[in-house]
Symmetry: C2
């Protein structure tokens, strides 16, 4: 196992406009590894990979195409850092686990911290998951199964079991001695949890406070009073909000009896904040989840359903247009201009909608200020409605040399921007009331409304005043 | 100052579908404070506010309307926690600082940690900022001005100066004694930085490792070799990526000479991750920034420019339609159906675009896998293009009892979904190459392309084959 490592200087000169990251996987290493792999030089691949951080190894694996990925895993078999599995994208991880097989995956998983082990296992295909579980040592299996008994995306799944808990009557000296003697301390920790005799947390002490305090002082005297015990069933989004709101670094997790069962540290929460923000972004765009690494057919399938819904709403808008076939036949300019009204409504509505969805997720928008927000967006819609009514009216009037046509598009524009402001707020607020994630469905509803109202107002007014 | 506190039970029963947060500002407290404020009961307001965490006090201030906000600040004058300022939304903070005046703001700012002080000051109006700076004690002012000399959104702005740095030849015992005796340690810290005689960082030691190690051991022996010193000019987005990628809790910041100038801790990075994700979301929706708390006219103005751009692109699409006025006059069904093709292209393109923008921000998409990604999206576009071509063709054919019309919409749909897949990838990749944030401008370009191609393909094919 004493193979040497190899480092590759990064060819900065050729990187052009794209900035290389400060640390992490560089283009040079990625290319050298690919070349060694293609050339079948297994020893060189291992030399190149060894100095990399596990998350950079994961990046490397993700960037290979599936064939090279299989070759790479074969070359690295038995030598991959177990933590690489935790960093892989879900769909790539599934592939890698399939290739490694249940026994080798189980061996890797049992090296991980409990929360990381669960993170690797929870997203696997049920059948594969069971095979890996069966291959785990009985003790590890029991622990993982206990984790999996907590709801998905809950604090229970996020916490780690490894923690330092001490009674309040200990002194600082006893605490330090305990830590020097313990052999099963967690790998990293920032706070010590003080518990009462029923193992309920009563406070936390940051390590630096222990360190600054003299040995004879009792921990009770330096325990922070304010503490935020998190029930294990709490949703991870709420956990993230709590950490961010109160600038926490770690927080104890408790069962229904209020007993300490684990601890959540901020590095896990960073991933959650990240995922939740990404989820909102993807849902608003009608993408199930970020899918750079998904297989082609999976990606196509996951996008299909949203497009199918959109086809239905587009047909609905067409039906509205169909009501005015006679008018359009008489004044073809209407067909030319009508997409402007619908498009402006859709864009203005999306602006409002995005702000509302984000504010709801951040709890900046609540029942107390909801009406103020709705009225504000209504007025914003009205102000921009007037401005763009004038602009669009002048453009259309000049283009088709018709003042009445300019007046009709101006009125329709104003109506649609006000409707956009209203529906951009009321749709997400309504969905939230109904307990539906407002990110998931609101943009379909919104564009349906702005399309239908846009065409209806424009063609309707034209039928009344121009024909 | 011995006024009592008051806590309000939260009326869970009336909260209906909206879940109350686990901790933080509750509806009950918010309402009671508003009532006390309206009733002019200043003492009760103070009693209610005292038990709240500073970030909950900030939330409370944000939720008031401007008039109540002014009343609240008057009541709390001189009693507000300085940290409340750091938690306020930018536009609300500006209002509050205006009301407090330079002297009182300066007094609050000088109580804060250096990085928090800068965070409060950097976003203020230049004139107000200068007034507050002038009111600061000379030493604090010099420190803040040094911070402000670093570029906006850089590691230098994010770091705190307060840190613990020790030489490598010290023992664990000496280190612990140093910490017990120092009076100017930072409030919170998780790692100790080991420096060489030129004050360049050579490694970090997590506090828990100090704590587990016996007193005579030299710190050199327990220093973690792998370390990520961050140049002070590094962009905060890169800092966030680094922390997330390598699961860091803190990292030293260095000047051009490689000397230690500060430390960045993960709680600051959490805010950055959050802001950057929000920024992408808002830019894609054409909103400058999240503006729940902005004044009505500011909001209307900030949305105007995006809508103006959209008006121009919508007119461009109309010009394309205008080329086919003759065809539409003959077959009005074309006017009825044409929005379907454009709308499907816009949606499919937005799906691809959002995934690409996010992947670029996360560096999952790089020069090495860019072409693979483009081809994949092209094929996804083609697959869904075929499926929706069939669906739309059948619908249109049945609706207007015309097989050729069905064929035309089917072909146009296929063309537009392929174009959507291509432009959804090539536009953000191209902008990134040019050094432009791909989130900022790509959706305008995209919908312009899908609208123009959608109308052109549909009406063009109709002109060729149906007239």
């Amino acid at each position: 196992m004493a193979e040497p490592s190899e480092t590759v200087a990064n060819p900065q000169t050729e990187s052009g406009g794209e900035a290389e990251p400060l640390y992490g996987l560089t283009t040079g290493v990625a290319r050298a590894t690919r070349e060694a792999l293609v050339a079948g030089d297994a020893a060189r691949v291992r030399r190149l990979v060894r100095p990399l951080h596990y998350s950079d190894q994961a990046d490397l694996i993700e960037r290979f195409n599936p064939a090279l990925r299989r070759g790479f895993i074969d070359v690295m078999r038995g030598q991959l850092d177990a933590e690489v599995l935790t960093e892989l994208d879900e769909s790539v991880r599934e592939e890698v686990v399939q290739q490694l097989g249940a026994a080798e995956t189980a061996a890797a998983v049992s090296e991980l911290d409990s929360d990381d082990a669960v993170h690797v296992l929870e997203d696997l295909d049920e059948e594969v998951q069971q095979q890996v579980l069966d291959a785990l040592p009985a003790e590890d299996r029991a622990l993982v199964e206990e984790y999996l008994s907590y709801p998905e995306d809950s604090a229970g799944r996020l916490m780690q079991r490894e923690l330092v808990a001490i009674p309040a009557y200990w002194t600082v000296g006893e605490t330090i001695d305990h830590m020097r003697e313990s052999t099963d301390l967690p790998e990293d920790f920032y706070d010590i949890i003080v518990v009462d005799p029923r193992h309920q947390p009563v406070g936390t002490i940051p390590l630096n406070r222990i360190m600054r305090t003299r040995r004879p002082v009792r921990v009770r005297q330096i325990t922070a009073g304010k503490m935020f015990p998190i029930p294990a069933v709490t949703d991870q989004e709420e956990v993230a909000r709590l950490f961010r709101q109160h600038d926490l670094v770690s927080a104890p997790v408790v069962d229904e009896g209020g007993r300490l069962v684990g601890i959540i540290t901020i590095d896990d929460v960073v991933d959650v904040i990240h995922e939740e923000a990404e989820e909102d972004l993807m849902l608003l765009a009608g993408v199930g989840e970020a899918d750079v690494y998904h297989a082609l057919m999976d990606t196509a399938r996951s996008r299909f359903s949203w497009l199918a819904v959109n086809l239905l709403t587009a047909i609905l808008a067409s039906v509205v247009i169909g009501l005015f076939e006679g008018t359009i036949k008489e004044i073809v300019a209407l067909a030319v201009l009508m997409p402007i009204v619908a498009s402006m409504g859709g864009n203005a509505g999306t602006q409002t909608l995005t702000v509302a969805v984000r504010a709801l997720a951040m709890r900046e928008l609540s029942r107390q200020n909801a009406w103020r927000f709705v009225f504000k967006e209504l007025f914003v819609g009205a102000i921009n409605g007037i401005l763009f009514a004038v602009l669009a009216g002048i453009c259309a009037g000049l283009w088709f040399q018709s003042v009445p046509l300019g007046g009709v598009i101006a009125s329709a524009m104003m109506v649609n921007l006000i409707v956009a402001g209203l529906s951009g707020t009321l749709i997400p607020l309504g969905l939230e009331r109904l307990g539906v994630d407002p990110a998931i469905a609101s943009s379909v509803f919104l564009t349906t409304v702005t399309d239908v109202i846009g065409f209806l107002a424009f063609l309707g007014l034209a039928t009344l005043f121009l024909v």
